[in-house]
Amino acid sequence: MTAPLDGLTVVEVGQGITAAYCTLLLSSLGAEVIKVEPLRGDETRRLGPFPQDVPDRERSGQFLALNRNKRSIALDLDTPTGQDLFRSLVQRADIVVENEAPGRMAERGIGYEHFVEAQPALVWTSITPFGQAGEYRDRQATEITLFAHGGLMVLVGDVAREPLMFQGNPMLHSAGLYAFSATMLAVHLAEATGVGQQVDSAILDGIAASHFQAMMDYEYAGLVRRRGPMHMPIPTMDGFISFTVQAHQYADFRRLIMGEEAGAAVEQESAVERDRRRAEGEMDNEILMWSVQQTKYDAYHQAQSAHVPAAFLAGPQDLLESPQYEHRDFWVTIPHPDAGELKYPGFPAQLTGVEPSWSPAPRLGEHADQILADFAGLTADEISDVRAAGVIR
């Protein structure tokens, strides 16, 4: 069985979400990923969620989710020996993915410019809030500040109240996803022509390029869009659903929720009458009378059967029990020596002839010996020496 990225070796110098999500996607398609962590471990190891909320760097949900299918070495990149060992890893790699502050790798003598001459086909993907160049390059940022800076936050929430962020770090994950696809473009060229390059991924750029309408409203028509009144979901017996019934769907939908006669009645009424009933909230009341007698899942299925693009607000249990996800074997169960057996999101696409395989996220430095032997040619004694010197763990 061939995987699309068989034979590609990736070195990740990642803290947090962006680089780790990028390399998770690469590894899910068959690339071999070596994760280089600082001696104290990737910061997500400290952030949880943890089982029973007890902090444990080997049982952080955030880390476990993002770092499956990778091998780990903990390496002090601020020491000359650590830098030498890093060089020997990169020499055997096709791709480096890093999210250090701009210029930080170069200061250590291990930036892209230090490798490009000897390895012209190397693809080096850097993921930072503002990119490698530009006026705010060295500013500090987090999910919420970038979400606001890129113009999305002002669109979210209720117009009479403060704007709201999206929880779950979607901007940081998006940046990792965008970097994955950009890396694929660069790898394609490198393999075809031997020309590698640096992929300068900026989280802010990705956000500014992810607007549905607000940017064009302004550029084309001078309209500055803000959030409006907040739409609230429709309650059911056990949760919430949401949908909009278009005018041409209304008769069928009313037939569905109130019976044949009620549907037929709508087909007889004038557009004026229909607009009046909508404006006075009569339609909303009809839907509410129906919805509170349904489960959210049944309501979603019924509305979809009338071709209404309906959804329910899925929580974690709904996701884990989704018949659609089950049909596609989306969830994958992976045993981990410390965290036990858990279900993780699999891969969102199925490719002809590809069967994904999954291994658990690594313990801190779990594969150091193997990696140093394979990549740097170190003997067991030499590995003991660098470990005793505190360069690896």
Partner: protein
Amino acid sequence: MTDKPALPLQGIRVLDLGMFWAGPLAGKWLGDAGAEVIKIESASHPDNLRILARGVYPGGEAGERPWNRSGMINERNRNKLGLALEMGTEEGREVFRRLVAVSDVVLHNFSTRVLTKWNLDFEALRQINPQIILASIYSQGGEGPESGFVSFGGTLEQLGGLTALNGYPGEMPGVLTLQLPDPLGGAMAAGLIVAALRQRRLTGEGVHIDFSQRENVTSILGPVVLDYQMNGRVPEPRGNRHPHMAPHGVYPCTGEDEWVTIAVRDDQDWVQLCRAIGRPELETDERFATVPARHEHHDALDEILAEWSSARTKHEAADTLQGWGVPSAPVNTSADVYADPHLASRGFWDEVDDPEAGHHRYPGRPFQLSRTPLSSRLPTPTLGEHNDYVLKDVLGMSDDEVAALVAAGIVGDEPTDDAKSGRL
């Protein structure tokens, strides 16, 4: 290394049947990177964004041919050629099959029914071209009990698990929608297509990519699902508060609906924040000494910060805090983003002269390539703009053959009356 290398995907031909956003965006990623992307629409079914995007015309003026003037279509379809071909007719599909024979990739974001109805599913395409890559950007995948369901970006945010996380604290979640599944799905599909090109090189065989945009949303929610399994915790709306950072939120500034975001990552940020706002005495205030303490007294912190921010513009507030190394940014509108000094200094914007919509600046890409800079080489095609090029230069048809297709209404360059009025 002085001569400029070719763009990454030069020599790759893509048939882009995408509509709305996720599909066309996948095509744009590939076109930006140098592929020859042929955007296929039809007079009876132009890309929905040509017709439905009310109010996004230059100066608010729809003009004589509004379908070529919408900002919504023009943002997403640069670096493509335009072919308007009636895929609903056998003659149209015959032209399409001839294109498949000389192309590398077909992509679409139709429902599961459309390609089957046209007898153009993966097996059929593979008969024509055994090396073809078909990218199906489905809502929920090609098979399964919900695979036929219709959706938009907001639907998938809700079904994928993102919407339930968000709202004001202590209240039910709001239906807060940014259509994020579309840009994420389009970008992901582009990356998968390039991966499939590599797989084709390794195996010599074509590839079908059966992609679920709903799963693509849930894929980023691993920690939420793990927390549920580990601790039985179901997340509830918490506004702008953060599990690991405090203070964390938005604070009012001078002007109407003007806000600044502040995120204090750790104790060092906290000390810097106290100094930045001229309140060094807070550094030693026990109520705020640790992250858990600051979480406990978050309301008090919010009052202190709001008092400080209310006397400043959002830009002044953010600049001051950044001067002390504290993460902060204004809550920008689209006008602010267009005026942002950083994005301009980075060369983010694509400047494009559009034949029917005029000169505009469009958002660039989420990344820059150091050796092969990407740009908008072509504006978004008008409907059917490159019919002749595709039919004659790509397929080698004669003038007479093309004229016959035009006369029969199989190719065209103006929407049908039904399409113009939005009846698709």
